[in-house]
Symmetry: C2
Subunit: 328 residues, 2 copies
């Protein structure tokens, strides 16, 4: 797989250098990206992070009304404990810091350890894990689910809550409720390749797709011949709606997200069907998102995320924010 | 090449249906997309258009401070005369309409014919052609050059000019000056495929790149082994700066644009180098753009556009606008 890069070892650092060069609202120090100007005193901080290779996730969502800092690892490899500690310190506005990131073992280990370390410095932290990938575990094992694209809804909603002056417990509860109300499923058409790796993350036939595959190529639900966009959308929406949530309100936001190489044309063809299906189910769509929000570099495929909105979440989703990649 | 679609024949219409469903600021009627609410009375209208398959181009740039309407053809095939006529009528605010689109024979023929037809209805029109692709003809044959990603700078600058209440001659002159000040070069890594076509738009070896290739796979300057991102960026910037422009001011905007499958990570690696090179040349970068702005569906590769700014262009580039895809 051809990549425009200089060396695998420089991939992440050069990418971060370009990101902050292009976006003066962001600064980075090593593997931590934060808002220019640093932490906002008196506001609960929110940090995220994880392996690189998913832009705009994570660092693209640093900005007013969203995240305060991110710790970034190598491609598809969690951030170091040091980076997690540094991100938490950077985000600390003396009201505590929420660690809001996807449910992956390596990330969890290092963010947990970092939380213990900063506690000794007097920084109180809490954790909310993105667990929106419905293909990764059954509903009754929801806490084992991986975090994928739906986490950006939690960023936006928790970020807006923090801007209201809410305390750490309130921001944490709002983030957890957003995660609990979000569901995602993906479909993969072709793999990506980690810079420097000898081969792609997985193999798939030229006429095959895999339903439910994770963003690092984790196995999905089935692999079969390519189907029509409408057939694929129908199954994905059916699976999303069949997954139980507490007290659905009838109002949802939906994200049709490219995993990388799948172009906007196909996303809109799928969104058209998703919107029709949700309408048919009596659901009202609020602030839909269609585009490249959480990717796996050049992987082809897409994910559909659905978040059920109560009045507060809907208001927080609509609150102003300033970040290069949150686009409605 | 796998695509999530229903049928090749429905590709464009279903894509447009999804686009307007996701973005209520846009409406479409057949193959014309315009602003919800229609033409703004008393403002010079600006229309664009061309073949589909380049999202966000063209229709994504319809909005306040940008375009008023677009006529869209099939994938990589110009819009019909009827659609061009309809787009001009839709954009007409009784101050005349600028036709601003890329320099391709089919588009030119139909937009020209449409211009003659609407003249009979009393609508005065002018034409400015995007001709920014420096690989497509020598500087002395500038009017033969094709239009590629640099045209979005002309959209933004002419669109902002029209919002000031300027007349058709002024908006046209501003658009032409923006085109004259813009330069683009692309590099392709892998092809795309027209929906329903038996094969990809071109063939290229698994370790090859082609410098200067057009967005429909038009032949470039050379084809060779993949090189480092910095080597590629160096050559592209050198070629862009070697191409003469009238009275360069030392201030430029730059767009590092994915042709589709190339991910943000690689764009930022390249942008990092581009920014360093321009700085070394004593140029100041204003409002850089990095992302998916003008694509060829799932084609891999990127283009770099440079626009030289005078004081007016810089002000117009910074003017507010409202469109789903103009992101800074």
């Amino acid at each position: 797989m051809k990549k425009l890069m200089n060396s695998p070892d420089a991939f992440v650092d050069e990418m971060l250098a370009g990101l902050v060069a292009a976006h003066p609202s962001l600064v980075h120090e090593g593997r931590v990206v934060c808002r220019a100007g640093g932490a906002r005193k008196g506001k609960v901080g929110i940090v995220s992070g994880g392996g690189a290779g998913h832009l705009p996730l994570f660092t693209g969502y640093v900005g007013e009304g969203l995240l305060d800092a991110c710790a970034v690892g190598d491609v598809f490899a969690g951030p170091s404990v040091d980076s997690c500690v540094q991100a938490i310190h950077t985000a600390d506005g003396e009201r505590g810091v929420l660690r809001l990131y996807g449910n992956y073992g390596g990330d969890r280990m290092n963010f947990d350890l970092a939380g213990e370390m900063v506690e000794m410095d007097g920084i109180k932290t809490t954790t909310v894990l993105g667990t929106d990938d419905i293909a990764s575990a059954a509903p009754e094992e929801g806490t084992r689910r991986r975090g994928v694209a739906g986490i950006i809804y939690a960023y936006k909603i928790a970020g807006a809550k923090a801007e209201t002056g809410a305390d750490l417990a309130e921001v944490t509860a709002t983030a957890q409720a957003a995660v609990d109300a979000a569901r995602t499923i993906g479909v993969a058409l072709s793999p990506c390749q980690i810079p420097g790796a000898a081969k792609a993350t997985f193999e798939i036939g030229p006429d095959e797709i895999e339903m439910g595959m994770g963003i690092h190529g984790e196995p999905g639900i089935w692999r079969d011949k390519l189907r029509s966009a409408d057939d694929v959308a129908d199954e994905m929406v059916r699976r999303l709606l069949a997954d139980p949530v507490a007290s659905p309100s009838g109002r949802v936001s939906v994200l049709v997200n490219s995993l990388g190489a799948t172009p906007l044309e196909e996303l809109f063809i799928v969104y058209r069907r998703v919107a029709a299906l949700l309408k048919k189910e009596g659901l009202t769509i609020v602030r839909p998102l269609v585009g490249h929000y959480v990717t796996s570099m050049e992987m082809a495929g897409l994910s559909i995320s659905l978040i059920h909105l109560d009045a507060e979440r809907e208001k927080l989703l609509a609150a102003p924010c300033a970040c290069p990649f949150w686009r409605v």
